[in-house]
Symmetry: C2
Subunit: 302 residues, 2 copies
């Protein structure tokens, strides 16, 4: 079963203590697509400018991502530039040029309107809502957002949240969305806004999933050297939703495995700059790291 993703495709210029990578392919939908593609068919909806060349298109087609929804319009592709501090937990945005992304109005190809699995990347919640209206009867909708939308586009976001199943955000965003300082108190409040399932990304501390009858933790993999954290969250979402779409089963047991798959994918993502590590990744490497997660977390009865 395929998963439809709507989000950004961008060129990123990234500085980390390990080096610079100017103008590399990035954006939330790119990371999501490549990661999800290991588990299921992916349909990509995004916009790029006429500077988006065949070599960039081929990144997606070589991984069998369906790009009929990737719109190319006159102008320049979204460009983001950022720099990470030494411990990689803080980043500074050096430059944001929305370019063609400023007027992005997602058009879902009619073939896609029956998509059962849907991921609404971190875009304007009004656009997320627009996508929801074009997909007839999704079985499972997951959504990302960020502080910019939480504080500045709150009512649109609250509207969108009513129609989604899974919200994938970080711990700080959970507290901001709930207007609560304590994460424990924020969680039930966010769940009362619509989503049944809350997936809280905690960076180097892993992921925490709350669903009816489930509280589930997965640690972050202790990567020897994080080279570039860009896209780790979207890559997590790609592994997570890709697994669920591939399994066509949303039982708690599959939700857990999806969370581990997301964590596995994110752990590979940060090992090299941009999409580099994901593009060379093999499925046996994924299953081997999944087993490493088991060794890191499983223990016998008392």
């Amino acid at each position: 079963m395929s998963v439809l993703v709507v989000g950004s495709v961008a060129f990123d210029s990234i500085k980390t203590p390990f080096g610079n990578a100017p103008d590399i392919l990035g954006g939330s939908a790119s990371y999501f697509s490549i990661a999800a593609g290991f588990f299921t068919q992916v349909r990509l909806v995004a916009v790029v400018g006429d500077d988006f060349g065949d070599e960039h298109i081929q990144v997606f087609t070589s991984k069998a991502v369906d790009i009929r929804g990737l719109e190319k319009v006159p102008g320049k592709t979204f460009h983001w530039a950022g720099e990470y501090a030494r411990n990689m937990n803080y980043r500074t945005t050096l430059d944001t040029q929305l370019n063609v992304f400023a007027d992005f109005s997602p058009k879902i190809p009619s073939d896609y309107s029956q998509s059962e699995y849907l991921f609404l990347g971190n875009i304007d919640p009004a656009l997320q809502w627009k996508v929801l209206q074009q997909v007839t009867k999704p079985r499972l909708v997951a959504c990302d957002t960020m502080n910019y939308w939480i504080s500045g586009h709150r009512s649109a976001l609250l509207h969108t949240l009513k129609y989604i199943d899974i919200l994938i955000i970080n711990d700080q965003e959970t507290c901001e969305l709930a207007e609560e300082e304590s994460l424990n108190l924020a969680i039930p409040r966010v769940l009362s806004l619509g989503p049944r399932i809350l997936v809280i990304k905690r960076g180097e501390h892993g992921v925490f999933v709350v669903a009816p009858g489930l509280k589930f933790f997965v640690p972050a993999f202790p990567v020897e050297e994080v080279k570039d954290p860009t896209g780790a969250g979207d890559t997590f979402a790609g592994g997570f939703m890709g697994y669920l779409a591939g399994a066509r089963d949303h039982s708690l047991e599959h939700l857990k495995k999806a969370t581990v798959c997301g964590s596995v994918m994110a752990s590979f993502c940060v090992e090299k700059f941009g999409l580099m590590r994901l593009l060379e990744l093999t499925f046996p490497e994924i299953t081997a790291r999944f087993k490493e997660f088991q060794r890191m977390t499983q223990f016998q009865d008392l």
Copy 2:
């Protein structure tokens, strides 16, 4: 098999957003003893003043803690006062009166010198070393320390570390001890100082254990309302070492279960002020929460 603990017994005055608890029984060795006592026999070595009444002694004897090593001397018992901020992650020390603890020189009763399991609580590393010299042939020695000793008594601490098996500290202390900003780089450096096993407490983010052939994570239990975090680290250590001493087996599988037992005990500790929750705790509650930790972390094969 019994575990010998050397540390502080104190009166604490604690303020949290949930209330005040003046002059309650505390100290690292108290929390450790009560927690470890659920799993094994405990021998307590500490010093108190003549203000330490029978009602305080009975807290230990009622839990079958062996207090032949609890020395009572003229003067007042160690007193600490502290206040926690709203999110409980920050605390301010309001007052520290070392009193009789200032001249503490641990004397190990001769009956204790054959102890096989030893926990060196967070005291002057020179005193920790003095204890080590009085215990003939310990099978397993664990040790706690803090930034005060790491920065101010470094050479004494480095000496003690050569003779221990397990170091139980938090993530910040791991970095300070290694003089490394990155935890990933700090870990191998700390392990090169002596301990075979490093147990890193990460507060609300759980515990990370590194041993030869093992990297193991346990999340913190999502306690509904943390009332008082005082003693959680020592309670963890008590559950951890108590389990190992009770099991008499240090295989990786037991090391994992010990880490979960420590996490279980710490999760109860913070539910009420001081030792209150630990003192009313039952073993069936411990096994039930152990199972909850399993549900929170275990997943099937891919």
